[in-house]
C-alpha cells in the first residue's frame, strides 16, 4: 500500500521554530495528515510531546500537519533499507514531527494523502473524523488549501526506470 507523501515547498514553519512540535497519536499517521492537540503526552520522557487526534467538526481550526523524515522501517526492525518514501508511515506510539500551517504555505501532496476524488474539485479541506484533507469544491471554516496545479514527484524506488507519481500543489487559503 502506498502512503501519502508531502513536500513542504514553501511553508512559514521552515523559518519559525515555534511552528514546529513533536506529537504522538493512538492512530497511525501519514505525512500530510492533520490533527489537533488534546494535550501533552503523559508518558515519561515525553514532556514536549503532544497528543494528536483527527479533526472533528467543532475543531477544524488550529490544526497541525504531519511531516516526518521518511525513514522506512522494514520487517519491523530494519531502518534505511527501503528508499521508497511511499512505504513510510508513523506507527502508533511513535513520536513524529508536526508543523503549523499558515496562510500562503505551499505544499505538494500525492493523491494517497487526500480523501475522495479530485474530479472538478479545486480545494482540499479538513473534515470531521478524517486525518486526511478531503477534496472539496470550496474552502471551509477551517484548514483549507486551494489547488495550484497538478504536478509530479520523482521517487527513488531502487530500480532503473521512471518513478514519477502524480501529485498536487496547494496553497493554504484558510485556517479557521
Amino acid at each position: 500500500m502506498a502512503y501519502s507523501i508531502l513536500l513542504q515547498d514553501a511553508v512559514a514553519a521552515a523559518n519559525i521554530d515555534s511552528f514546529n512540535r513533536s506529537a504522538v497519536s493512538a492512530s497511525v499517521y501519514e505525512n500530510g495528515a492533520v490533527g489537533y492537540f488534546t494535550g501533552k503526552s503523559t508518558t515519561a520522557g515525553e514532556a514536549e510531546v503532544w497528543t494528536m487526534v483527527a479533526p472533528v467538526t467543532a475543531h477544524l481550526y488550529d490544526l497541525w500537519m504531519v511531516y516526518e523524515p521518511e525513514v522506512v522501517l522494514t520487517s519491523s526492525k530494519y531502518k534505511g533499507l527501503d528508499p521508497d518514501v511511499r512505504n513510510f508511515i508513523n506507527a502508533i506510539g511513535d513520536v513524529f514531527s508536526v508543523y503549523k500551517p499558515e496562510l500562503g504555505d505551499i505544499i505538494t501532496l500525492t493523491d494517497d494523502g487526500i480523501t475522495g476524488t479530485k474530479g472538478a474539485n479545486t480545494f482540499i479541506t479538513a473534515t470531521d473524523g478524517d486525518p486526511f484533507l478531503n477534496w472539496n469544491t470550496a474552502a471551509v471554516s477551517g484548514l483549507s488549501y486551494k489547488l495550484i496545479g497538478t504536478t509530479y514527484l520523482s521517487l527513488a524506488t531502487g530500480s532503473i526506470d521512471t518513478q514519477r507519481v502524480t501529485a498536487y500543489q496547494f496553497e493554504c487559503v484558510a485556517l479557521a
Binding site: 511553508v11 512559514a12 523559518n15 519559525i16 500562503g104
Partner: protein, 178 residues
C-alpha cells in the same frame, strides 16, 4: 516625471520567513507599496514560481494581501540602469517580475505620500480598497488589510544634487488583515 511611491520596510515579518516572499508580475506598471492579490501563477513557460498580481477587490479580495517591494533600480531612457539615484523615478514595468511580501499584523512600513491614494483624514487609517492598487487614506479600518498612521516622518532621498532631500513620509503599522 510624476514621482512614484517609495517604500521602506522598517519591520516586517516577511524579512524572516521565506514563504512570505514571492515573485509576481502584473498587467499594469507597479510601484513599491502597491497591494495586491496573488491568487494564481502566470502560467507562462519558465515562470513556474511567478504569481499574477491582481488588484484588490471587494470582500475577500481585501484580505491577506501582498505588497510590492522591489529594489529601486531606475531604468533611464528605457535602457540604462543605475544612472538615476532617485527612487521616486522607479516603477516596475508591465511584464517585469518583481518581489512581493505577505503583509502581516504588526508590520511597520514607511511610505511617501505617493504610495497612498487620497488625502490624510482624521482617523489616520490607510486601507486596501476595491479596484485600487495603492492603500487609501480612510477615517476607519476595513475588513481587510488596514494600516494605522503611527507618525508623520520623512525620507531622505538621494537625487544627485547637493541640497536637502527630505520628503514627507508616513510610518504605518498593519493592524488588520481580514
Amino acid at each position: 516625471m510624476t514621482a512614484k511611491a517609495v517604500l521602506i520596510q522598517d519591520a516586517v515579518a516577511a524579512m524572516n520567513v521565506d514563504s512570505w516572499n514571492r515573485h509576481a508580475q502584473s498587467t499594469v506598471a507597479m510601484q513599491n507599496g502597491y497591494v495586491m492579490q496573488l491568487a494564481s501563477k502566470t502560467g507562462v513557460s519558465g515562470e513556474s514560481e511567478v504569481w499574477l498580481a491582481t488588484v484588490p477587490a471587494s470582500g475577500a479580495g481585501l484580505k491577506n494581501l501582498w505588497m510590492c517591494a522591489e529594489p529601486e533600480v531606475v531604468v533611464t531612457n528605457a535602457q540604462y540602469k543605475g544612472l538615476d539615484p532617485d527612487p521616486r523615478n522607479f516603477e516596475v514595468a508591465i511584464g517585469t517580475t518583481f518581489n512581493a511580501f505577505m503583509i502581516k499584523l504588526g508590520d511597520i512600513i514607511t511610505v511617501n505620500a505617493e504610495a497612498i491614494a487620497g488625502t490624510l483624514v482624521t482617523g489616520d487609517y490607510a486601507v486596501a480598497s476595491n479596484g485600487v492598487w495603492r492603500l487609501t487614506w480612510a477615517a476607519s479600518g476595513v475588513s481587510g488589510v488596514t494600516f494605522y498612521r503611527r507618525a508623520t516622518t520623512y525620507m531622505s532621498i538621494a537625487d544627485g544634487t547637493i541640497a536637502s532631500h527630505q520628503i514627507t513620509a508616513y510610518e504605518l503599522e498593519c493592524i488588520a488583515l481580514a
